[in-house]
Amino acid sequence: MADLHFSDAEPTASERRAVLAALSVDEESDGAVVVSHPRVVRAGMQRRRQMRHQLLPALHALQREAGWISPGGLNFVGRTLGVPPAEAYGVATFYEMFRTEAPAHELSVRHVCIDPICALAGAAPLAEHLRSQGHAVHEGPCLGQCERAPAVFIQGRREPDRVPADGSGPDSLLVSITAPAPEAPSLLRHMIGREPGQSESMSMEAYRERGGGAALDAALRLGTDEVISQVTAAGLSGRGGAAFPTGIKWRAVADGEGPKHVVANIDESEPGTFKDRLLCELEPLAIIESIAVAGLTVGAEHGWIYIRGEYPLATQRLRHAIAQARSAGWLGDDAAGSGRPFDIELRRGAGAYICGEETALFNSLEGFRGEPRNKPPFPTTHGLFGRPTVVNNPETLLNVNEILRIGPEAYRSVGTEGSPGTKLFCLSGHVGRPGLYEAPFGMTLDELLGLAGGVQGTLAAVLLGGAAGSFVGPDAGGLRLSLEDTRAAGTTLGSGPVMVFNDTADMSAVVERLAKFFCDESCGQCVPCRVGTVRQHELVTQIRRTGRSTEPQRELLGDIADAMGDASICGLGHTAASAVLSAMRLGLLGDTAS
């Protein structure tokens, strides 16, 4: 690479210290991860940037220390990691949690969620109140705490990030399991009855007593081919939203050559979704075990956790679990006695829904802007650092543990033929007990709502699948919640959010906010989504103002939706019109006029 040119701006002593501390911590704790790989950018362009993947940790350190990414701080990071300042600036400006203008205060920043569930629960007055108390407030998208709305996350200035609700005694989580038999699959069963806040239960000993480690033992005993054939026989599909068959993915990566990676995608930013946060907070060692199972099965040496930056408690517990797993020999040069090396490195996102898209996640982790790559090539051949990569949602990975524990037949004993097993549902909004629920696929929507204490008031609509999903009306109670039934009904389960609105909710405001969400979260790379989401939002706003839609407006919305769905690069654009169109069909945006 050519010599880099930097401006004269210098870092302060404290910025320099903060960056070096962040980098050396990573070197120390994650030394097992080899960092130099060629990267395939978009259509095969190769780059080699040995240090660049540490850009995000370095920017986090700068932001916490100085309250912004200052020119001097950015120069220092760029020089240290060999990143051109224009590119580092491009990365810094991509994320919600980084500021590139000097703040007028020395405060930690309170992020207040303004997405639908929190809006119903009084996010706007809360933000106002916090401001009046002299706090720095930043209003932003869903913080993954919808079960305890309105949500706040505090991004620390020279102090650790924290979530106020985490400190207030035992988690407000309500868990319900409806798996019928003791031998039937259940991800939540062993977590029930524990005080999630107790650090004792986070120990390796306690985890082993609960049966922890059995999946890893089984995986090593069975070997690659048998594990993959059991996962395939169990009919496991991905729980991150796309429902891709996990066995096929693992087979492809296991067949790949050379260095490989496994990535746990814990970016969880779909509005209405908070399951992954709770899984990590409740049973972090199970997540680590499941990543090790995946890594040793497909023959990867490097495991990665990419967790959204707004999850400090889950992050802390996962880090603790990684350390324990290293002490216990699960990770390291001879991982779990396999004779092969495997280790896990944790990376925090910085506020960008799009970084949950698997290829955007790779770019983000590598220190580039979180812009999705065109597919093909797929992650199974060209993933992280251009290498074959398994990327899975943590719920998917925990299901593999369960399959290895009870076998594929028992696993298939619940659920439907097309959707075996259970699904975690995140219930929020106007239900009696918002929280995390595990139910067999195929349960009806009414039954699920019943588990959660029923609808409060008169049901107006349910948003299935989050912003990328679609609304169903009060008459959809009989809808069976399986992949095949929701597909046939023209809707989706997505990653499992179920947002419930009664007739007191201003539905047109909800729809307008969803439309705005996509404008804010589009990476901006491709024209259909960059401009289409903005035009869609403008139309929704117009329709909302006038209280009814005209024929030309509906036609235009349809035209925009078709182009975004057909010509966008990634799933964000493909689904950006889905909730709006379903709301139009249900009349949630007002009457139709000709």
């Binding site: 224009a86 590119e87 600036y89 400006t93 259909p528 960059r530 030309p552 057909d566 010509a567 966008s568």
Partner: protein
């Protein structure tokens, strides 16, 4: 056909793949794109972010085609051609998405100097005025009392004039990434500019929007040469346009070889009224691939000056 070891296979023996473009069979070398196959089949394809001398970024999506078996349309410019592919380039879906991409750009950017995009917009019937919101002139209560409608959001940017060599008018920028690629991995390796921000607010920027003379820019002008919209424009052209004297039809192009060093870059001198108004290099030239350095690109100013002085980059903010 027997396959010897991949790396030993000489270039000339590259395998060929046959696919169908609008029902016509075409054969192209393995590794070529659908776009190349379309060209081979005499099917013209609109492109904005693609260029023969740059790595495809497939972001504009104007080149999309329908591939049988694919849920979504696929970008012709970057998708490798595979044997047996059934491609439609003129289906209703394809025409719709192409029209919408062009319409979206027209509704967001000043495309007055993007002649190719304008031509394609005519061909596909793009009508950016559809977003002006005239159709919503219905007041809900019939009172005729309409709230203010601001009209569609557009890219608004001041012209950045920071030196004597080229200007940046980002209200014309369609974010094709070509300048970023030309400044970075694909040619110059200077990395002076990158995309910053997200979504509709994404822009081409130096770090903190630093003025060009203070940035890493070495004034090779390669970004200007690849820009399809006039968002980046040589000062000569910008100044002549300002006085209504930019007349491409009156310009002649003379090919010569740059005399500054021994590399042997081909130069195309664009001459209007006996003055050099622009210097480019052919994209298919084996030495330059269309890219030059500051001397070849801007050093011609000595031709018109009594004594050559290095081009100035003094900041003259607008």
């Amino acid at each position: 056909m027997t396959r010897s070891g991949e790396s030993l296979r000489p270039e000339a023996e590259t395998e060929r793949v046959t696919l169908s473009i609008d029902g016509r069979e075409v054969t192209v070398p393995e590794g070529e794109t659908i776009l190349a196959a379309c060209t081979a089949a005499d099917v013209e394809t609109p492109t904005i972010c693609w260029a023969p001398n740059l790595t495809p970024v497939n972001v504009c999506r104007v080149c999309v085609v329908e591939l049988e078996g694919s849920r979504t349309l696929v970008p012709a410019c970057s998708r490798p051609a595979e044997a047996g592919m059934q491609i439609s380039t003129d289906s209703e879906r394809v025409r719709h998405s192409r029209r919408m991409v062009l319409e979206f750009l027209g509704s967001a950017n000043d495309l007055s100097q993007a002649s190719e995009i304008a031509d394609w917009s005519r061909i596909y019937g793009a009508d950016p005025a559809r977003y002006d919101g005239g159709a919503s002139d219905v007041s809900a209560d019939g009172s005729g009392d309409l709230p203010e409608r601001p009209g569609p959001e557009r890219v608004r940017e001041p012209v950045r004039i920071q030196d004597d060599l080229y200007i940046r008018a980002y209200d014309r920028c369609v974010l094709c990434y070509k300048c970023v690629e030309a400044c970075g991995d694909d040619a110059q390796h200077t990395f002076a500019i990158a995309v910053a921000g997200r979504g509709f607010d994404a822009r081409i920027r130096t770090e903190y929007d630093a003025e060009l003379p203070d940035s890493a820019c070495v004034y090779c002008g390669n970004c200007v040469a690849v820009c399809p919209t006039g968002a980046l424009q040589f000062r000569t052209e910008f100044d002549l346009r300002a006085v209504g004297e930019w007349r491409p039809d009156d310009q002649s192009v003379t090919r010569t070889v740059c005399s500054y060093c021994g590399v042997g870059c081909n130069l195309d001198l664009h001459v209007q009224d006996e003055r050099i108004v622009k210097v480019t290099s052919p994209a298919d030239h084996s030495v330059t691939s269309g890219h030059l350095c500051i001397k070849g690109r801007f050093g011609w100013q000595y031709v018109h000056a009594p004594a050559f002085e290095p081009p100035t980059t003094s900041a003259t903010e607008h």
